[in-house]
Symmetry: C2
Subunit: 186 residues, 2 copies
């Protein structure tokens, strides 16, 4: 993952690394398979019975990873959709990249107190999306077995906060800093 | 696919069938694998070198299917994102379900005149999304090798129009009608 970021990532400004070459616009499915296998290795618990992610770029990663866990995927939807119905757990996610708050939701049918959830997402920075997903698990009474992230921005506080909260968080690459276009991993 | 719709689909009003139990909210990854294999069987061309879909619910289907084709996935993004950059092919998609027009875009880097594209999506009704994706392929000079759809609403005109335009369109299930909550396949 670190090699791929250095090889194909693009840096925008001082804090955004763009990985749409392989992760969130064009998707390298072979890489996703490697990511899925690695998450299985990092989260060997046989109790995980669901993978939870958030649209849109988390979905491909979660679906491929789910093959190695043998479990279904549920993705939180952004905004309010006519087709979702009213029986939903919701949360608010503030995106610093887009500078806007998004309402996310998961139908109450698809996450329950019996679930032991692995949360998967492409990026972790301030942790707003993951915390929104954790909040939905809490509303449902579901247990969060772990959090698997492809790329963590170690210079932003989300990862530290989640680890201090006691969550089992694994990031495949942690970017420690981006200085003058040079990425350092932590 | 037809069995699954009858078993787990929910009908809203007279023209919406809701498949979020297995396809576009909770995702049954085993079913997606079967879908992926079936698309490979229906589109055996070895020339296909890219799968194109549209966020969000197409992404999981496309990623799983791509494993059977050994090709990358590109998904068209909805709305204008700060991170996408300006070098994008765009199209407009009108959603009858949501009653709104969405701007979709694909970076020029990720679709080119060398590409022979299989378009994959979950639903086909009026064909607006697929036509938007075809338009993007045309702008790029890419060839559309085929269009693979999970569920086609045969009582809406998209499928007929696309077949008349000469596209190789394959739908895994075609809903002929929904009357008083009874689904008939075509």
């Amino acid at each position: 993952m670190e090699d791929r970021i250095l090889e194909q990532g693009a840096i925008i400004g001082y804090d955004i690394v763009k990985v749409d070459m392989f992760l969130n616009h064009r998707i390298d499915v072979d890489l996703l398979c490697e990511i899925g296998k690695e998450f299985r290795r990092l989260f060997p618990s046989k109790e995980i019975n669901k993978i939870l992610t958030i649209e849109a770029s988390g979905i491909g990663i979660a679906c491929i990873a789910a093959q190695y866990f043998g479990v279904p995927v549920v993705f939180a939807k952004k905004g309010i959709h006519r087709n979702v119905g009213n029986d939903i757990y919701t949360g608010e996610v503030f995106s610093f990249t887009k500078n806007q708050t998004t309402q996310i939701g998961v139908s109450k049918k698809y996450i329950t107190a019996e679930d032991r959830v692995l949360i998967i997402d492409d990026f972790l920075a301030n942790g707003a999306a993951v915390k929104g997903l954790i909040g939905i698990c809490e509303q449902a009474g579901a247990a969060v077995e772990g959090i698997g992230i492809c790329i963590e921005k170690g210079f932003q506080p989300g990862g530290k906060e989640l680890r201090e909260m006691g969550y089992h968080l694994e990031s495949l690459a942690i970017i420690k800093s981006i200085d003058d276009g040079i990425i350092t991993f932590g």
